[in-house]
Symmetry: C2
Subunit: 445 residues, 2 copies
């Protein structure tokens, strides 16, 4: 069955994925003599940088999501279809989906990245990922459910385990999440659970590499470590998680972390579409592209953003998986598709690093701008401003701003709601833990 999209004389650009890259590309093709079809499995764009605030009850899920149809309401020859792409048939130049196939003249893969457990099934079963809004909501529910359970736990080891957190992965997501959990511990949970001894609650952050925020400079790494320690987070660097069983995290440094709330932020991989030539997919499941974001071996298929790997001598692993890269690639590809159509030469992509930031907590952030590195209160205000401006939609900006002001002045996180309880789908039999202990035998950094 053919997907129900009018056939027109203009060439059809099919974009898969409504993240930062896909959205930006569609915008840059506005009324530009192309027919544009955007396909996404969700009907909304997710502002991923703030997912951790949804997970920690600071923001409503609806304030970091934006309906895709709303972005494009005044576009000519623009079509959105909600569908999960099954595969691409590059011979017949068509995309296959459950709602029919779709022919393309140009295909753009902007499918982003997904959680990577490196094949470890026990980690996948026993930890929670945080790459989508439903996942962030699962995490919010789990955190609150575990605290409700802790109240009724009769055994001290179990109670501690219900209050403890293990965040695996010391990149921006892990650092920001651990910081937000520490603020919950400090400001919110003691008021909500006066009958629990919150001093026993432990937040562990485990990073395999030698430092936090591996992609940032030494000063940002060490400052973020200092901020996390100030907030009482136990940080373990150069420590590899080797397995999780029955709510116990084991590492290569020995020791065991007991926690019912284990969050995995330590791995991502590309989320390419099935059907591309095997040589186009490289390590980490990313799609190999040239300097014009053209996929290896195809002249009418492009990839942008997290899923695209543009390998150069300076960047042998491709660009970092950042919103900025996706946005800039989306914008340039829009121009290049026009160039292609007009018979002009394509412009090569050159990443303009506008800087990176991470926030740990109130007045505690690190920022690296092209001309300036700063940490602390100024970085924190800057972080808020940048994220507020980057959010899609005025309504979302206002609601997020209100929530941030509320939290700032009240030392509060307002949406501590278990709307849909999280129920773990167990694949391994759950067995009682024999010797619950709350301290670990390895020292935190």
């Amino acid at each position: 069955m053919k997907m129900n999209i009018p056939e027109v004389s203009q060439p059809r650009v099919v974009i898969v994925g409504g993240g930062f890259g896909g959205l930006q590309l569609a915008k840059s093709l506005k009324n530009k003599d192309f027919q544009v079809v955007l396909v996404d499995k969700h009907n909304y764009h997710t502002f991923q940088p703030l997912l951790y605030q949804v997970a920690t009850a600071g923001l409503e899920p609806d304030s970091i999501a934006f309906p895709i149809r709303k972005v494009f309401k005044h576009y000519n020859q623009f079509y959105f279809r909600m569908a999960k792409v099954e595969r691409v048939d590059t011979e017949r130049k068509r995309l296959e989906t459950p709602i029919g196939y779709l022919n393309y003249d140009y295909l753009v893969i902007a499918t982003g990245s997904e959680t990577n457990y490196f094949g470890k099934q026990d980690i996948a079963n026993e930890s929670l990922p945080m790459k989508s809004i439903p996942e962030a909501l699962n995490l919010r529910s789990l955190v609150l459910q575990n605290f409700e359970k802790a109240l009724t736990a009769t055994e001290v080891g179990e109670r501690d385990s219900l209050m403890n957190f293990v965040v695996i992965g010391g990149g921006p997501t892990g650092v920001e999440l651990a910081g937000a959990l520490a603020e919950l511990k400090k400001e919110v949970l003691p008021r909500d659970y006066p009958d629990l001894d919150l001093r026993r609650m432990q937040i562990h952050l485990i990073e395999a590499g030698p430092k936090l925020l591996g992609a940032m400079s030494e000063v940002s790494s060490s400052k973020s470590l200092e901020f996390l320690k100030d907030l009482g987070v136990n940080v373990y660097t150069s420590t590899m998680v080797t397995g999780i069983q029955n709510n116990v995290v084991a590492t290569d440094k020995g020791g065991a972390f007991y926690s019912h709330s284990i969050i995995w932020t330590a791995g991502v991989e590309g989320a390419p579409i099935e059907g591309l030539k095997p040589e186009a997919i490289i390590r980490g499941k990313r799609v190999k592209v040239n300097e014009f974001n053209q996929v290896e071996g195809y002249d009418n298929i492009f990839a942008i953003g997290d899923v695209a790997a543009m390998l150069t001598t300076e960047l042998p692993k491709g660009h970092p998986m950042l919103a900025q890269v996706a946005l800039q690639q989306g914008k340039l590809l829009g121009e290049n598709l026009l160039n292609l159509r007009r018979g002009k030469a394509l412009k090569p992509f050159k990443y303009k690093d506008l800087g990176t930031m991470a926030t740990v907590g109130r007045h505690k952030a690190v920022a690296e701008l092209p001309w300036w590195k700063t940490q602390g209160i100024i970085a924190w205000y800057l972080w808020m401003l940048v994220h507020l401006m980057a959010l899609v939609g005025f309504r979302n900006r206002v609601v997020v701003f209100i929530n941030w002001m509320w939290s700032y002045f009240n030392y509060d996180k307002g949406v501590r709601l278990i709307i849909r309880p999280f129920v773990r789908k167990k694949t391994v039999d759950e067995q009682p833990i024999d010797h619950l202990q709350t301290s670990t035998s390895i020292k935190s950094a």
Copy 2:
């Protein structure tokens, strides 16, 4: 196992249900020489009057929910436990829950009401209720999913059915929901789905009684009918739904309504606790109480709000199921529990009718105050003001206000998000419909 609550010298009041009544009662017992334990299956209070706006993408779910623990953060001897009550053992004066049993000195049943399908399994299977936030979110997802599906439907009858709505029940919920759907049709959906012929979308409102808003006056009923007609809603009064099968609604007046989005708001019943004497439960599963809200046959068990039926000569069926009744009963019961403890006489409940309102759409509402009936724009502003002030929590009020202003000036509903797709649990085999038709053989009112 005993629930983990300290035993103290003060008598223990156990309140089941954190709705309007239960919350108000707990507030009126603040630091009053009682130990208060509030039990609810959710960790939040739901502001039910605005559920229909969540279902129609006008408000975020989190803005009409309020964390119960947050309400009571500075209370002495107050405990909240999240648990679904299994039964009460009135002999041993204890409540049984999955997290242990709980002894009480005074028990207050404030469990509210739930959807009643009058035993019709086909209606339960094929329609959606709207009594809780997850249910309202299911509805929001379903509405949007059906529109996405309509885009790809190849058969015109199926496409129409995917765009049609049948709201069963012409009480306030049904009227408000039908009105909000009509505004979606008028203002939002044509922009989101330019490729669909929205003129074919039908909204049917079916009411078994002779008029809409049966509990209100003639003028409010007829005016709300007029408002709905202005918005293009097809209203059928004195029409009883006899069954639903394969997305077709049948009524006693003949005719068939084809719709993939069928919403049931036509019946509620009390949600009492198991274990009470059978004679305490009357028609509609409500709990029979005397003028002090004392449950028939018990002197230490009370019921307030929707679940309580205080039968009098003027009110042979008890009070209407309204937030105001629950609030006033909760407040008085707080005083009476103190009176009981001090050996004073109990005060009988007297309902003070502060008025009722219902809104149909922009500038279209009906209001009946004790001293004034009004319809139209003033009633609409009044409705907004009253609901804004009644919301629990300043943050919620601000967020709701922002959303309303946004919708008002932009003719928009901002949160058209399918965060969790709705998947129907089918119990009847789904079969293709032979003769899809879009018109019905009976005339709307």
